[in-house]
Symmetry: C2
Subunit: 395 residues, 2 copies
């Protein structure tokens, strides 16, 4: 029979770069395309011991239905960490555990946006967020990102020009895909503009704990006194991505609506791993573990940049991130979709910039490289192969 | 600041019976209000051993990002079980792993329904599904359930009277909340009516494996040759509810759209527990374990009914379910919201029928009792207390 779909999802298709991701199953392919944390970053032995204890001591709590809001001790630990490390937490704030950071983005959109409402986001931005916004048939307006973050003039123009702007979506720290960090001046300015035009901000900070160079900057949420900023993050990059445990923090009134909507979405997040994360923090703390991840990524990023410095043509520009997982490479000219195809023919996977454009199909002369997952050997070989393709690429 | 919400979620509120559920935290309260599987039904030791093996042998696969479709070996096992036990599986069918059965219902609604579209469901029906439908601002039309399932005359009237009916939502086996099983004649008739009016069916079968009396009946999906039926279920009632692993099976074209929408919802379901469920099936199989759950529930249901037979006034009617988790009690008159309040004052929790009405706030002279979670002692004491309240209730 013939099927018809809802307007909001009708135009949604599997990713245009699906072929690239399919090719990753081929072990000969060197992948710089992932957004995965390093497998070396998983504290397997510690998690194994905690899991055993949970099965021994509290199996019923860990296997039975639980509350939608999330595991109370974990919420308390998250709130303490948000307070200590990010100065986040007003009296009116509440935190809900989500099934990964992604669910926080999805539910926020569902709670705030009617079809046709506008969301302003960085251009480029995180594909998972852009597609979540699209799945509610919202109007996406991208604002270009500069070396120190979003272009403020264009942001104000976008706020002026668009009706029904519901929120600004921003990843201020080690942005995906660009690796760029928004400066303090721009963080303040974005909040001021949100106040001036009375829109909310969804601040996404999955990489905020992964700074391996430079100075910490305050989160936008920490400067918010009105409850204008929703803040989402997750344990995906600091403990385990596969367990799908994230969180969303914001004004109680907003979070309580998110709770109602999460309840009909998946009832609650896997409770066993909420308890596991909580015990991990309780027994081992996160600081030492995160320090080891930062050291690993510092080395990997530095090593990859050194290979790129050596091999890439000087007309090719790229970011030098102070944390996170990504380097953003910009060609002098041309569309990188073709370049990504050539790369995959040579068994190197990269993600072309068009993937991250709020306007679908927009050309981009940039592409994203991930440094957290490939081995040093793969970095040497992959950057060498890639340099031969891009140094000769005419676009 | 003041917040405005999307039209679709604006009217959604925390459950009206929240106070009842809050009271469950009080250990003095005997709860017949849950929808939980018995804690005795969790195969803790076996799950513990498998978890240990996963941490030992495949930690990276279990902690890293995974594919949205779900863990391939588990999908294969589910499809084999659906084929063997439920005669489900056409060439065009595919199965996606969902974060509990609830997510299958939510994503199906998102994929198929625009705001204002109509969903026809049983009256009463599962509150989690009704609220998922409401969260997309759909028009809910309830059709009364009789002893042998949905009233066919009213179903056809509803199909005739409503424009844009997208699907019929039905729980044909051990329905929640009524415990009623739709007869074979009515299953065939529902499918015929769906064909006649060209609407889809979402068949929800979370309790289908839990028959402890009577004869198995074919699923509606097994009679479908056109790809008209989507079928959702989960491991919540047969392995663990807290792990949030369910599945949705239907025509490839529908499932592939669901995959795209799930990707932006939570990327994928907790992969560790998908692998754990798969290993459980591989090593131990599900049949022996499910047989023990059925034996347990048969005893519990029988024991509760015997207490009710002894203590309840003869004018009070109730279902005698052949499986599942629930008994549905109908008073000669009156609204059971008051009755539930009186019960909770006497430290017994039940769920009043209005909770399960597709039309919100509709009065109901029925209420739901759960027999899977209370102990035998609690059943004796709780039914005794409850009988004193309901035998004297004037409504």
């Amino acid at each position: 029979m013939n099927y018809t779909f809802s307007d909001k999802v009708n135009d949604m298709r599997p990713s245009a770069i699906r072929e690239i991701f399919k090719s990753l199953a081929n072990p000969e392919v060197i992948s710089f395309a992932a957004g995965n944390p390093s497998a070396l970053s998983f504290p397997v032995e510690k998690m194994k011991n905690i899991a055993e204890q949970i099965f021994l001591c509290r199996p019923t709590d860990a296997l039975q239905y639980s509350v939608t809001e999330g595991y109370a001790p974990l919420i308390k630990q998250i709130n303490e960490r948000l307070k200590e490390n990010f100065s986040i937490g007003n009296d009116y704030d509440e935190t809900i555990i989500t099934s990964g950071g992604q669910q926080g983005i999805d539910l926020t959109t569902k709670v705030l946006c009617n079809e046709g409402d506008t969301i302003i986001c960085e251009n480029p931005s995180f594909i998972g967020a852009l597609n979540a916004f699209r799945s509610y048939n919202t109007n996406l307006v991208g604002v270009d990102v500069e070396d120190d973050g979003i272009n403020l003039t264009l942001l104000e123009s976008a706020l002026k020009a668009n009706k029904n702007v519901r929120f600004i979506y921003i990843i201020p720290t080690f942005q995906n895909p660009s690796g760029i960090t928004t400066s303090l001046v721009k963080r303040k300015a974005v909040l001021s503009l949100a106040e001036k035009y009375n829109v909310l901000i969804l601040e996404d900070n999955p990489y905020g704990e992964l700074r391996f160079a430079g100075e910490e900057l305050p989160t936008i949420k920490s400067m918010d006194t009105e409850g204008r900023v929703l803040y989402c993050s997750s344990f995906s990059k600091i403990l385990s991505a596969g367990m799908r445990v994230g969180f969303l923090c914001g004004n109680r009134e907003l979070i309580q609506k998110v709770v109602v909507v999460k309840q009909v979405n998946d009832v609650h997040t896997n409770i066993f791993f909420q308890m596991l994360a909580s015990s991990f923090i309780d027994i081992y703390g996160l600081d030492e573990h995160i320090a080891s991840i930062k050291e690993l990524y510092k080395q990997k990023c530095g090593f990859m940049l050194s290979q790129m410095d050596e091999k890439f043509d000087k007309r090719i520009k790229y970011t030098r991130p102070e944390g996170g997982l990504f380097i953003w490479v910009t060609m002098p000219q041309g569309d990188t979709v073709e370049l990504a195809k050539k790369a995959i023919d040579n068994k190197v996977a990269i993600v072309p910039g068009t993937t991250f454009c709020p306007v679908q199909g927009e050309r981009s002369s940039s592409f994203r490289l991930n440094f957290s997952t490939p081995s040093d050997e793969q970095i040497v070989c992959g950057i060498d192969k890639l340099s031969k393709i891009i140094n000769n690429f005419k676009g």
